[in-house]
């Protein structure tokens, strides 16, 4: 069989009925990757050797313990290049980390490896996950498989593109202000940001620690729940990971939305929303209503200031998190006789423009004399944003809204930072509040996918999957494939 554009569930069945093997799957995947990546630039590193070892181990596991083997066993996948893998170059798409090979593997990735995952490569992204188009990579932009003139969104653009291209059935990304959900929407894939604290951040190169979460890209909501279940759960190495047990998202996946109350925040369908996106999402609301959900308008009044709050808190944390890239111990160093010059030249040459901009913004916001006006004030408003979500979730079970106000835009078309920052206006409030959110395909405007976002209260991750699955099963958008996924089959 051809592995291209299949789901994890389909490939898992094929592995078990003997119609394919992990090694055969891997070979097909690598061949597809090689063909497609000339146009897409979705990969920074192809980890063939690691993948071969993992495929052989998975084959053994499937042969010896076919019943107990994980659904992910033997399935190819890819990792955003902000996730550390022992001995594999991990750059966060930054020049400053070129050649850096971590001596350890992060927790979420290790859990997948333990389940028998076959890692084919590290995917391209915006440098240090800062951006919404994957144009900020030091190693060139990623193209959208639906239209290679356009961006795949970002920052996890490579992880989104490779799933949309049909190369791998799933990948991991990271979401700090929408970096999984927004590219999922722009590439017609499913992308999920878990509740803050559900997935360990150990081994995730930090952008903004209080906002970052790791999550999957997949071709179906069921697959997404499957990957999430494999990576979620307490990790003693991450003090911000929640110790409570994770409820099985698959158990309630098929429960439907009948009787559920769903809220539509009026602020999330503002002026910036493209008419095509608006109409696709409004049609989706009707589908949910037809499934038995009750829809009502709700309000998250601080939405307009959430963007400002985000662009104080995230840069503040990033200015500190990125201080370790100083040329002293690892990565790139520009040698200079004086220490200060070495620091300045290394960081000047090693970081790209967007990263520098955010480091400067954050340094300023934390500076003596400005801290109260910026950082402290932003934290107060962040609390307010969070409380508004709590209040809304008193009225409704989940929120439904667009994932992105626009469809994929042309590369180079958003050259001023503010217009780029607007991409995340409906995704970043969920990061500020720590609530889970998913994007599922819900339409197509002139050949470009549209995403529907579902947001639920903290730790109600299963509910997000349940609503998204009900919608997905009632429509055909998730079956639509990008040209890369159909031609290569």
């Amino acid at each position: 069989m051809s592995s291209t554009a299949k789901t994890i569930t389909e490939l898992g069945a094929a592995l078990r009925d003997g119609s394919t093997t992990p090694r055969a799957l891997l070979d097909e995947t690598l061949a597809h990757l090689e063909r497609s990546d000339k146009d897409l630039n979705a990969y920074l590193t192809v980890t063939r050797e690691l993948a071969e070892l993992q495929a052989d181990a998975a084959a053994q596991l499937l042969e010896q313990h076919p019943e107990s083997a994980s659904p992910l066993c033997g399935i190819p996948m890819a990792l955003k290049d902000v996730l550390c893998v022992d001995g594999i170059e991990t750059t966060a798409a930054s020049r400053i980390l070129r050649g850096f090979k971590p001596p350890y593997t992060g927790t979420a990735v290790q859990r997948l490896f333990d389940a028998g995952a076959v890692c084919v490569g590290k995917t391209n992204c915006d440098e240090f996950a800062m951006g919404s188009s994957t144009e900020n990579s030091a190693f060139g932009p990623v193209a959208n498989p639906w239209d290679i003139e356009r961006v795949p969104g970002g920052s996890s653009g490579g992880s989104a593109a490779t799933v949309a291209a049909g190369t791998v059935p799933y990948s991991l990304g990271s979401d700090t202000g929408g970096s999984i959900r927004q590219p999922a929407a722009l590439t017609g894939t499913v992308g999920f940001k878990p509740t803050y604290g559900r997935v360990s951040r150990y081994g995730l190169i930090a952008f903004a620690s209080s906002l970052d979460q790791i999550g999957p890209f997949t071709r179906s909501v069921e697959d997404c729940a499957l990957v999430y279940a494999a990576i979620a759960g307490h990790d003693p190495l991450d003090s911000t990971s929640d110790p409570r047990a994770v409820d099985d998202p698959l158990a309630s996946l098929h429960d439907g939305v009948a009787g559920m109350r769903l809220g539509i925040p009026r602020e999330y369908l503002g002026e910036g929303t493209e008419p095509g996106v608006r109409s696709a999402v409004e049609t989706a609301f009707k589908v949910l209503e037809a499934q038995g959900a009750t829809l009502q308008e709700v309000s998250l009044p601080s939405t307009d200031v959430a963007l400002s709050v985000y662009y104080v808190i995230a840069p503040a944390e990033c200015s500190s998190n990125l201080a370790r890239y100083d040329g002293v111990r690892y990565g790139v160093r520009v040698d200079r006789p004086s220490l200060t010059d070495m620091y300045l030249q290394t960081r000047g040459a090693g970081f790209g423009a967007e990263v520098k901009r955010r480091i400067m913004l954050g340094t300023y916001a934390l500076s003596s004399g400005y801290y109260d006006a910026y950082y402290r004030q932003a934290q107060k408003v962040r609390t307010l944003v969070s409380e508004e979500f709590d209040a809304v979730f008193q009225q409704v079970d989940a929120i439904v809204c667009p994932t992105s106000p626009t469809v994929a835009f042309t590369m180079g078309s958003r050259d001023d930072p503010l217009s780029m920052y607007m991409c995340d206006v409906v995704t970043l409030p969920a990061n500020l509040a720590g609530v889970p959110g998913i994007s599922v395909p819900c339409g197509n405007v002139d050949g470009l996918p549209v995403g529907l976002q579902v947001i639920a209260p903290r730790f109600a991750d299963s509910r997000v999957f349940r609503v998204a699955h009900a919608y997905e099963q009632a429509t055909d958008w998730h079956i639509a494939r990008s040209p890369f996924a159909t031609e290569a089959a």
Partner: protein, 482 residues
């Protein structure tokens, strides 16, 4: 010349004696390992790593705070202190800013007979940096520098004192007492030279009677009690000279240069870092409930001052003896072990502070680590008390067994060192001595007291030094006055 009041406040950094580092599992012992051997991705600040709090370090800090009479708030958090330096691998130090583990304590101690009370502003917890070795005197002029990150992430407690100290002696005494307490409660090894106990001083002068503080100078690089005292004395003299000639003092950081006996300017106020403190997002705030604090309180040992006082009361010791015995917890424990093994309190104190202290000093081995040990000393002293051996024999035996160890009773038995205290036997030897030294006997009878010495020596020699000499003395006097 004006009359100035000296105002000193001390900041002490003390490494905690935890098994592992503050935020990872690496051993906290950084001195005995090869450079960079005790490191992991967390303490060398690799991309993607996260800190996890060492519970023992929290415990030790609370223990310290309680010993220093601090309040323990029920809510505390860690913050990041941001600055660039090659020994700081993350580019920030995890420390505590506005919500420390404890605050508002104090320490009381005597200085020249007067009681001094110094406030403790706060005790908080942070991580130590790595260490650097420069090919050259300082980083700025070094051709290259090596970095050892074994110390990176070792738990470091900062004890900030109020500016309540009024003299270099008081400052020194504060440090001596503080170090003693930290060692007593088992949280720090008190090594100034190796830097496990470090001190910075803020010193300023003001017109006597003034209530506002003068411009403070921070003095660093003092790695002995003596250096602290000398550096402060130098600073006071320097500042006095500047003020006396109508000059003004800039707020600055100065370093003590031991070899030159002076402080030199390191950094002005304008060059001070903006550390951009903000809450550490990788560590949720901690809530310390009363039950936890009470459990820690229950582990606090009796502190030195209280113990010295009890020794005076309970064992009838003088202030000096009690203070010397309680200088360290081990010393005080050893003393109480001797007493509970049945040695008389006064006798135990005399021996421990006398011959035992001398031997400990000579061999650089404290009693509790010596071959003889506390139990061996107790057996030896019981032989003295029961009259089985005499004082000089006991001293010789102590010197012999202190390092080598051995059972005093067995040695006495094997070598026949038991004291000769049989009155009949000694009376015969006394008679023989008088007969052999007629001139001395005559001199004594004529009122020359010193003449008795020769007769005593004669009897002592005749018993191989084992005679019960007070009894010999009595027998001689009886016989010669008869």
């Amino acid at each position: 010349m004006s009359d100035y009041e000296v105002v000193i406040g001390l900041e002490v950094h003390a490494q905690l004696l935890t098994r592992s580092k503050m935020f990872c599992q690496c051993p906290a012992d950084y001195l005995s390992a090869e450079p960079n051997a005790n490191t992991c991705p967390v303490c060398i600040g690799l991309p993607g790593v996260l800190p996890t709090i060492n519970a023992q370090a929290i415990d030790f800090t609370i223990r310290t705070a309680l010993a220093l009479n601090c309040d323990i708030p029920d809510f505390t958090k860690f913050d990041r202190k941001n600055y660039f330096y090659p020994d700081l691998p993350k580019g920030y130090q995890i420390s505590q800013y506005d919500l420390p583990l404890s605050r508002d304590g104090h320490l009381e101690f005597p200085v020249n007979g007067a009681k001094v009370r110094c406030g403790v502003t706060r005790v908080h917890l942070e991580e130590d940096t790595g260490t650097m070795h420069h090919a050259g005197d300082v980083l700025q002029s070094a051709t290259s520098s090596l970095i050892d990150l074994n110390r990176s992430g070792v738990p470091l407690m900062e004890i900030v004192g109020e500016p309540d100290l009024r003299s270099p002696e008081a400052a020194r005494e504060y440090l001596v007492r503080l170090r003693q307490i930290l060692m007593y409660i088992g949280v720090n090894d008190g090594n100034l030279e190796q830097g496990s106990f470090r001190c910075d001083a803020n010193v300023s002068l003001r017109q006597r009677g003034a209530t506002e503080l003068g411009v403070k100078v921070e003095v660093k690089n003092m790695n002995s009690f003596r250096a602290v005292q000398r550096a402060l004395e130098f600073e006071i003299e320097r500042q006095t000279a500047v003020l006396d000639t109508g000059g003004t003092l800039p707020q600055e950081t100065r370093g003590w240069v031991e070899t030159q006996g002076r402080t030199i300017s390191q950094r002005s106020k304008e060059q001070a870092h903006d550390y951009r403190y903000f809450p550490e997002p990788d560590l949720p705030p901690l809530r310390l409930d009363d039950a936890f604090v009470d459990r820690v309180r229950a582990t606090l040992p009796e502190l030195p001052e209280a113990r010295a006082h009890r020794f005076e009361m309970e064992y009838g010791l003088g202030t000096y003896d009690a203070a010397v015995l309680t200088d360290t917890r081990e010393s005080a424990d050893s003393y109480e072990a001797l007493v509970s093994a049945g040695v008389a309190a006064k006798l135990a104190a005399n021996w421990q502070n006398g011959d035992v202290a001398a031997l400990a000093n000579e061999h650089r081995v404290p009693l509790w680590e010596s071959g003889l040990g506390v139990a061996g000393l107790a057996r030896l002293l019981r032989l003295v008390e029961s009259g089985s051996i005499n004082g000089p024999t006991a001293k010789e035996l102590l010197a012999e067994l202190y390092v080598a160890g051995g059972d005093p009773e067995a040695v006495v038995r094997e070598r026949g060192l038991a004291q000769v205290s049989d009155a009949t036997e000694l009376a015969a030897l006394v008679d023989a001595a008088i007969a052999a030294n007629p001139a001395a006997a005559a001199d004594y009878r004529a009122g020359k007291q010193q003449a008795l010495g020769q007769l005593m020596r004669s009897v002592k020699e005749a018993t191989g030094g084992k005679a019960d000499m007070p009894l010999v003395n009595r027998l001689l006097r009886d016989r010669l006055s008869g």
